[in-house]
């Protein structure tokens, strides 16, 4: 894992969650800003997946690589699914879904770092 990228992803996911939380508090449905946050997040996650596989292929990474690969791929689903599910709801609860998605991505990235460095179980 590259720490700079992981940090960037965590920052973007928390910013996207905060932005959508504001949208939700203002009682607005999901707008372009909310979707843009998810789009940036998704691009970063794809970059991470590619880099992750390259590094794993190069022999780096944790002993228990299956779990790491699971996270690497599963996390890609979150922003896309959040956008789709949130867009179906034309109320404040649409951006609410993005808040959940952003927080979930942040937690998953922290967990992936633990798995990569072997400090988590």
């Amino acid at each position: 894992m590259t720490n700079a990228l992981a940090t960037a992803i965590i920052a973007v996911s928390l910013l996207a969650a905060a932005f959508s939380a504001v949208t939700s508090f203002r009682n607005r449905p999901m707008g372009r800003g909310d979707l843009a946050g998810l789009a940036v997040l998704e691009v970063l996650l794809v970059v991470q997946a590619v880099l992750g596989f390259v590094k794993l292929g190069g022999g780096e990474g944790p002993k228990d690589s299956a779990t790491f690969v699971g996270y690497l791929l599963a996390v890609l689903l979150i922003p896309a699914a959040g956008a789709g599910w949130g867009l179906l709801e034309r109320s404040r609860w649409g951006p609410g879904v993005i808040v959940v998605a952003g927080l979930a991505v942040a937690v998953m990235i922290v967990r992936m770092n633990q798995i990569w460095s072997g400090t988590g179980v």
Partner: protein
């Protein structure tokens, strides 16, 4: 369509605030499912009970997610059942895993009352059941 401020009235279990609940359930379905998949595929013989339990938990989360998202009478019943099983599961497995750690050599989502997941597995079924009760009442009134 735009003025769904606070009332869940007329809406199903999967819309309004319920949409966030379904989102959280979907993440747990994914988390439990992926975890069970990896555990069973790579090291099932190490702790068959714990891993079978992981898979069972994953199925319950998937059922709850789908049932809450769909709404309707049958789905509502299924959702109540799934949330109840989930609550019972997290309480029983949580207690057993603390009382007899040797029986659970590897963690499941429900171990230690969902400690590994910020206790969300303990809170989620309670919120789910409350939400189902609330939307049922709103639907009748």
């Amino acid at each position: 369509m735009s003025d769904t401020t606070e009332s869940p009235a007329t809406t199903g279990t999967g819309s309004g605030p319920g949409r966030m609940l379904v989102a959280v359930y979907a993440i747990f379905a994914l988390a439990a499912g992926a975890r069970a998949g990896v555990q069973i595929a790579t090291k099932f013989s190490e702790a068959p009970v714990a891993y079978t339990l992981s898979a069972f938990a994953a199925v319950v989360y998937v059922l709850a997610t789908v049932a809450l998202a769909r709404g309707g009478r049958t789905s509502r019943r299924l959702a109540v059942a799934a949330c109840s099983v989930e609550l019972a599961g997290v309480l029983v497995v949580g207690t057993l895993s603390l009382a007899d750690p040797a029986a659970f050599p590897d963690a499941t989502v429900w171990s230690g009352y969902g400690r590994g997941y910020g206790f969300v597995p303990l809170v989620l079924p309670v919120v789910g059941l409350l939400w189902l009760r609330r939307t049922a009442r709103a639907g009748r009134g």
